[in-house]
Symmetry: C2
Subunit: 240 residues, 2 copies
């Protein structure tokens, strides 16, 4: 598969402590799949400088794109921006273009652009800004790393600004057959079918609902005709 690849890096003690649930992973995964970019890894790390820089370097090296979520607000525990800069050995400071965006926003809303809020105008050298239509403070793209907010509404808005600028691949198509039999009963024939279609991805995801065991079999490909052919065979193997 030659589609571009991606990883996500979530920065947040609040998720690792169980206080909140991550809300952005599932959204990013769905949007990237539609855009033909294959999300291949997600990491959640704590609000720790080394954890952030190590993860940024590893993921930036391994994948076409990295999307980060969280840690770019005004408080002392928002340390993503400086550590993404550190991962690429770039200086970071308040930048005029980002400062101008905040000045305009806070003048309009009647709030003070204090030192804490000014932290949100710190942008690494060489980064380009990502627009934030909700609360103004921009994200940024440095190298292949897209640094975005953790608040879900802002994360979505920033992703909507970034995604159209990225080269996508052929959209990944998928079809699902729900089979109301235990996975152990379908595993043999399913494996044989997967062997005959080596270019397709076959997944089997078991569930139990009200005491009934079943499995969702998902076939994925960028080739719609091949997918249809395999799905027809799957339907013949496991008729209703």
């Amino acid at each position: 598969m030659s589609n571009p690849t991606a990883a996500m890096l979530v920065i947040g003690d609040e998720i690792l402590s169980g206080r909140t649930r991550d809300a952005n992973m599932h959204y990013l995964a769905s949007e990237l799949t539609k855009h033909g970019i294959a999300l291949q890894e997600v990491r959640v790390v704590s609000d720790d400088p080394n954890a952030i820089t190590d993860a940024v370097r590893a993921l930036s090296d391994a994948f076409t794109h990295v999307f980060t979520s969280g840690g770019i607000g005004p408080t002392h525990d928002d340390i993503t921006a400086e550590n993404v800069a550190a991962a690429f050995d770039r200086p970071i400071d308040v930048r005029a273009d980002a400062r101008a965006i905040l000045e305009e926003h806070y003048t309009r809303t009647g709030l003070e652009l204090n030192n804490a809020r000014l932290r949100m105008a710190r942008i690494p050298d060489g980064a380009s800004l990502i627009e934030n239509p909700i609360s103004a403070a921009p994200g940024f793209t440095l190298e292949n790393v897209h640094v975005m907010a953790g608040v879900p509404s802002i994360f979505k808005a920033m992703l909507a600004a970034v995604l159209p600028t990225l080269t996508g691949g052929a959209p990944m198509l998928s079809q699902t057959l729900q089979i109301l039999r235990g996975e152990g009963d379908i595993a043999g024939p399913l494996s044989d079918l997967a062997d005959r279609y080596p270019d397709l991805s076959f997944g089997s995801y078991p569930f139990s609902r009200d005491g009934v065991y079943g499995s969702n079999v998902v076939i994925r490909s960028t080739d719609g005709a091949l997918l249809d052919a395999a799905m027809s065979e799957l339907n013949r193997l496991f008729p209703e």
Copy 2:
């Protein structure tokens, strides 16, 4: 902080493609926090042998415990067990004790213990079994890696079997104050307070609801008295 540490490894193309949402991370995070084990990293990787072995080695080296979720069923895409074994250079095959558990279960339920189901009795040399009271097929612990099912009900049951066997630390306590002001207004005083309590962890988690901006400030510690003192100061800084 000297509490034991942990990482989670989620194996699953279905989460990375956006087809399903991970359901186990938040549960594991909450349970570990209660048990005094600090979850410090989560990785989600695809159903790829190298991705799994690389992550198992890295996380096993870095943290006291690793908990995996997913990929131990009977189908061809369930490749977690053999790749955890490979990460530690251990042989893996059908093991008598695990096979006996499956034989008893399938005899009782009248289902055939076919080759696909027998895959679930493959256990790495030297691993100990983790009981599965729901669908019998066991998980296992190899070195400091606890290999568990992805189906949430089974993941929970396996965690309930493993957790009491692990040495926990002092439970991490937390108190939260919801402040209905923008983060930029509270960041300065909050940072000063955090500086005066260097042994406590201070987090600020912004939200907007119905157009109102606010922040949940969370203070965490294993020391209840110190936590109470800091929380009293926080309440004085930001009265209702």
